[in-house]
Symmetry: C3
């Protein structure tokens, strides 16, 4: 893989970010308890309008007024999985893009099976770490590291491509280097900082931001997904430079998302076509 600093012009994250800020898309989240607060704050910082709505009694009605849906299985239970099914089906039927985050797929049978079922419900994007993507792609069976990845994204690129080709979803895989693939094309994003792994839920934040970018960029999902990961990675870099530790990083990350300007995006984005 050759990472060049200047992105292909068609993948410039800036116009996609501007659209998020001007449209302020309503993004519905059925997500886990751990990250509800932090992902809502990231969505607000980037300019979207988050709502955390997961009751079986109302998810379908809420999907209908949303511009994107995020489904994250981080703290799943049967009643929540039912709500995820209802919301995903409604979104797919209505042409509202939805993003799946198969948190911890491979750690327990329940997660692996739930992830497999949801993968079949036409998500626009599947966002996970390397181990989760490999499990969902069927390339490995179980993962012994809980919700953290035991593999590199480079190793998981072939399974990611196969998963995209099989499902029709984009696969957005995050790690030291992030990748987005539609099965044929693959693009790498080499932004971010190692200290980000010490803040809980930044993978879930990536998923939420993909939702926001999809919600404001219905016409080009590939660029939306790439842009979301690049903007988060850049914000993480800026935050890490200011932070003695992960507590500060989390605070500065939100500030950086809020203040992100065109020059910063242009200078820092490391986006490249991947072999």
């Amino acid at each position: 893989m050759t990472t060049v600093k200047v992105a292909p012009a068609s993948l410039d994250p800036w116009p996609a970010l501007e659209r998020v800020r001007s449209a302020a898309p309503l993004v519905q989240n059925i997500t886990n308890y751990v990250v509800m607060n932090s992902t809502a704050n990231a969505l607000l910082a980037v300019g979207a309008s988050p709502a955390m709505v997961h009751a079986v009694d109302e998810v379908e009605e809420f999907v209908a007024i949303s511009r994107a849906l995020v489904v994250n299985i981080g703290t799943l239970s049967p009643r929540w999985v039912e709500a995820m099914r209802l919301a995903a089906a409604r979104a797919a039927a209505a042409g509202i893009p939805w993003v799946l985050d198969p948190v911890g797929a491979g750690a327990t049978s329940y997660r692996t099976q739930t992830a497999a079922e949801l993968v079949g419900m036409r998500p626009a994007v599947i966002r996970g770490n390397a181990s989760e993507i490999m499990v969902v792609a069927g390339a490995v069976g179980v993962s012994g590291k809980g919700v953290d990845s035991a593999h590199s994204t480079r190793d998981a690129l072939a399974p990611a491509r196969a998963l995209a080709a099989r499902t029709g979803a984009l696969v957005a895989m995050t790690g030291v280097v992030d990748y987005v693939t539609d099965g044929t094309r693959a693009v790498s994003i080499a932004n971010g900082h190692p200290m980000m792994a010490r803040v809980t839920g930044l993978g879930c934040t990536a998923t939420a931001l993909v939702g926001a970018f999809l919600g404001a960029n219905h016409d080009d999902r590939f660029t939306a997904a790439v842009s979301a990961l690049a903007v988060l990675g850049i914000a993480g870099e800026i935050a890490a430079e200011q932070s003695p530790g992960p507590g500060s990083l989390q605070v500065h990350l939100l500030d950086a998302l809020y203040r992100m300007d065109r020059a910063t995006v242009t200078q820092r984005a490391h986006i490249a076509e991947a072999a």
Copy 2:
């Protein structure tokens, strides 16, 4: 509306805040997953003693030892609504003031109906944004913006007054300008900062602080509600002045609540009788 800087002496927030700090009222919260952590921290910062207790098996017993109850429907589901009913009924019967936050009323039928039911259970205060208050007051049917407001508080003042008159609750409505009304009298609080809208759950924090102020000021609910909104708005102003973005604002807001002194309250409070 004429906003004068010097509040009517009877509405000075300082004595009400001092009572919160000296009494450290136990405030029970049945609230949403997104804000449990942040509202608990705001309650601690202002000097109250928060507890998040929502199991059907224990809410009534816990209400009996609390000085105030907060009921927030942000992430409602049937079992939680059952707990809200039990707790609200017990609080109303025991004369323990309780605050209702009808989060997202108007966004789905389930929320609108649940809010309507709880409004009828004698809350001491109903705290919402303009759209939520208008929906609960029956002035508009649905709101298409999810949990964010599509209306200004000024537009919603007449419906807020009608709601207060019909229910006997105070209505505390927050936005660019906040209002508290008992149906006849209305007071405006012109504090706060636009960046506060980029931090999730500050509306819910307003509700929680109203609970704390009610819990320590049973004898004057109107002043308690006004004081809570003024103190939060002032803390938000101070925090925004120190913050490059919403991540920092959330941190500094808690510090400002903790450090709030009489001079700051006196100099910054913008409280006025509203026409």
Copy 3:
């Protein structure tokens, strides 16, 4: 009690912390909604790998891959208590150490009974404040302060010893002075700062860190528990010195956990044998 600055060499927290960082133990948490985010971040900052997994459908399978289990009843409900039972039984059977946090025991019958049942399921450590430990030990009946303590840890030391002797668990009790006892021996840890009480969930964080230290130090549970409390207390002191209020303290605490070095631990630890 004589507090001497130099700890008994066998209780030096540094080697135990180093083992957490090198082993990065997977710690499963069945904990409350309020603190899921903050305790996950504390576990990451100290070097552990947290997972919040509580569904009845998967807890037992997940325990089997974990190095320690944390069970915290802060926001309990029947389905969650069922998951706690399953996970605790599996952990005890497999020799995986588990920590019980009986949050709010004494505040409601439901909490008191649930805590009593779990105490009987062979936890390695019971971590609570003075009132919770006294209730669980049977020394007092009810506590009228919600989830905050109405007693000092010094007053609760005898009940704590009796509880440890009866159950075979270590009792780790936190307050102005912390204690760890196995029923016979008792050690005091005089670190920490009063402002820590204004941040929600730092007691729960103590419990989570005890889990992490147990997970990486299976061979010496007593030193593990003492070390966890000392490291948290020291981090709290450092954070308080940098913080105008509790918002900043929470941020700096995570930074301090992440940056903790041998010299800081050696200079600041106040650990002593207690009479």
